[in-house]
């Protein structure tokens, strides 16, 4: 491209670059020149323009569906709904466990096998491989610090110890309701239903916190 200064297109002239012999007849140049570099003003491919038009149309549809008519939920609304759904499910399953069911579960071999596995992976470290205690309380002597009702024990496993200094975390978040119930059943199976009592120095019942 030549570097001599291009003529400013004159309004009304038949062709802005008439007289330029270095560009093809009919070609149109953009007005700007940088260091003698000029640029043709070519039409964009139609398919390319259509992708642009379609994104514009899409943006209107998107805006209308998600933010104006609210016909479709936005991502954050969907996440919130999903969390609600999971929580509802959890409450539902929670509702079905009570002291009676937990004792029943403690006599079901399938549930005990599952509970034994959960226990050995997560609990044995502190409470001992045979529930004899260690860092944590012994779980086979019938004495319960936070109440001896199965739902008290369930509450300690699910929500953690009411005493934040004790180090028993809320396992419900990690294990989910089914595994929590199974492991409580497993612990109960190592105790005699006729010999369950709350420790004399108990600060209160866990299920009533």
């Amino acid at each position: 491209m030549k570097s001599d200064s291009p003529d400013k297109p004159e309004p009304g002239s038949p062709h802005p670059h008439a007289g330029r012999d270095d560009i093809p007849p009919g070609a149109v140049l953009r007005e700007h020149v940088y260091d003698g570099i000029e640029e043709y003003d070519q039409r964009l491919p139609n398919w390319w323009l259509w992708t642009l038009y379609i994104t514009i149309i899409f943006s209107f549809g998107y805006w209308f569906l998600f933010f104006t008519s609210r016909a479709l939920p936005t991502d954050s609304e969907r996440v919130a709904a999903e969390i609600q759904r999971i929580e509802a499910l959890r409450f539902e399953q929670m509702g079905t466990v009570d002291a009676e069911t937990l004792w029943q579960m403690s006599r079901n071999d399938t549930i005990l096998a599952q509970g034994a596995r959960v226990y050995s992976v997560n609990c044995a470290v502190c409470h001992g491989a045979n529930l004899e205690g260690g860092i944590g309380q012994a779980l086979n002597d019938g004495e319960w610090r936070w109440g001896h009702d199965p739902m008290d024990i369930h509450s300690v496993v699910d929500l953690g110890s009411p005493d934040p200094m004790a180090g028993m975390q809320a396992w419900g978040r990690q294990l989910g309701p089914r595994q929590v119930a199974a492991v409580v059943a497993y612990v109960l199976s190592h105790n005699d239903p006729g010999n369950m009592f709350t420790a004399a120095d108990s600060p209160g019942r866990a299920s009533e916190r």
């Binding site: 043709y40 070519q42 039409r43 398919w47 992976v121 470290v125």
Partner: protein, 467 residues
């Protein structure tokens, strides 16, 4: 501007886009010759490789299986977990420098020989089109002809086969991510039960079909970023498909006084799949497909002139000078390439057959009892191999009175299993002198993998316990 057919390529605008922005659809003529044959062989090999990779089993897993669902990536017998994702940095930069290096030396070898776009377009879809609709002039006539039963038949057949092939490619593509057995299961299931997979296949087939039936060279000319990089990657020593101007010009019909070797037969233009005239020099549209080399060689043979008027050559060679292969840019690209390769080899050899992650349990950073200070962690182990593995976890560099609780025995994990377990560090209060780093080592029993990680054992200020 009225177009007098045939359209003459020029350097000021893209041949395949008309002045009004509409598409100028090309019908490249057939080229015959050694380059076309060599490229076809390469293409058949490549397609065989693309298709067989998900089928070949290496170490119990497909050669390539990018299992996003389980966050495991199997590559030629190596298994990567989500925690190894940083290695892709070396993989991607390595591939990029390799591409830069070959481009600086030999131009767009990749485009002409190996790119799936070219491989499938030139050697599958255009072959089908050629077989059904005939050679270039016949295809042009068919395009212009009014609808007739024959035209309808040919069009239905062509588009039908195109859709089938596009569908096959979409399935192969999906197999890379879900493995063949899973894909087979989905294929046999009702589309309603597998709406997601079915929708993916439908969309992928649609895109591929559109690409190969209509979009074609527009991808290379307008969209592909590698094509856009060319002007920065090559120089006058780069070997490209090029026209020998000194030999060919001035072009003229046979017998013209003082004419060069080019007889201006226009064959090189007719065969070009991107619609350019290589005699106007190197242009960004050229995908180095070599069709024009074979086309011109065929003509040269006929007119008894030496072959190679169009050939693989650098601008320097064409100007009568020597091509230099060792130049600043090739050396720099090679240094980067070797550097990357070395780091990559080192990094890959440190690849562990398992993943491990240690985090503090929710709650307090430390627990103080009458005679102990305790830190509670959760360790998450993931077996990355297709066979069970036994894990030992031990603490190195423990200060006096400290004990690792919970890992007296080893733990076995099944194939690809993941598990978290508590990991507890406990120190006697009498020995406690303040926070201290402790290194945890995880190793597999068979000695194939070892990982170490340093944890901070935390606790209250020791002065609290001062007598």
């Amino acid at each position: 501007m009225a177009k007098a057919p045939p359209k003459r390529p020029n350097r000021d605008s893209v041949t395949t886009i008309n002045d009004d922005g509409s598409r100028f659809f090309l019908h490249p003529a057939d080229a015959h010759g050694p380059w076309v044959i060599a490229r076809r062989v390469a293409a058949v090999l490549l397609i065989a490789i693309y298709v067989s990779l998900p089928w070949i089993q290496i170490g119990g897993q497909p050669a390539v299986f990018l299992d996003f669902i389980n966050r495991r990536f199997h590559l030629f017998g190596l298994t990567f977990g989500a925690g190894d994702i940083w290695l892709t940095f070396f993989l991607i930069t390595g591939l990029a420098f390799f591409l830069f290096f070959t481009t600086a030396l030999f131009g767009r070898l990749w485009c002409g020989w190996a790119c799936p776009q070219t491989v499938f377009l030139e050697h599958v879809f255009r072959r089908v089109e050629r077989w059904i609709e005939g050679d270039a002039p016949q295809r042009k006539r068919l395009d212009a002809a009014p609808w007739s039963p024959e035209k309808a038949f040919k069009r239905v057949l062509k588009h039908g086969i195109f859709i089938v092939f596009a569908g096959l490619i979409a399935h192969v593509f999906l197999a890379y991510f879900v493995s063949i057995p899973q894909l087979y299961e989905w294929v046999r299931a009702s589309p309603l039960d597998q709406a997601r997979a079915f929708g993916f296949i439908l969309i992928a087939t649609g895109i591929l079909y559109f690409n190969f039936v209509w979009f074609r060279e527009q991808l290379c000319i307008v969209i592909c970023p590698y094509g856009r990089l060319q002007s920065a990657l090559i120089d006058e020593h780069t070997i490209n498909v090029a026209y020998d101007e000194r030999r060919g010009e001035p072009r003229g019909k046979m017998g013209t006084e003082g004419a060069g070797d080019c007889i201006d037969c226009n064959r090189c233009v007719q065969v070009c799949p991107t619609g350019i005239d290589i005699r106007q020099g190197l242009q960004l549209e050229c995908v180095a497909c070599t069709a024009c080399i074979d086309a011109c060689d065929e003509i040269m043979e006929k007119v008894k002139r030496p072959r190679g008027l169009i050939r693989y050559a650098s601008e320097e060679t064409l100007a009568g000078r020597k091509t230099r292969y060792v130049r600043a840019r090739t050396v720099i690209y090679m240094v980067f390439l070797l550097l990357g390769l070395t780091v990559m080899t080192l990094a890959f050899s440190s690849l562990q057959p398992f993943e491990s992650n240690i985090s503090r349990m929710p709650g307090r950073p430390s627990y103080v009892t009458d005679d102990h200070i305790r830190n509670q962690f959760l360790i998450r182990l993931g077996n990355k191999r297709g066979e069970p593995a036994r894990f030992h976890v031990e603490a190195l560099s423990m200060p006096a009175g400290m004990r690792l609780v919970g890992w007296e025995t080893s733990v076995e994990l099944g194939p690809y299993a993941e598990e978290s377990r508590p990991l507890i560090l406990q120190q006697e209060r009498a020995h406690y002198t303040g926070p201290v780093p402790v290194t945890i080592r995880v190793r597999t029993e068979d000695g194939r993998g070892v990982r170490e990680r340093t944890l901070e054992f935390l606790g209250p200020d020791p002065r609290v316990f001062a007598p």
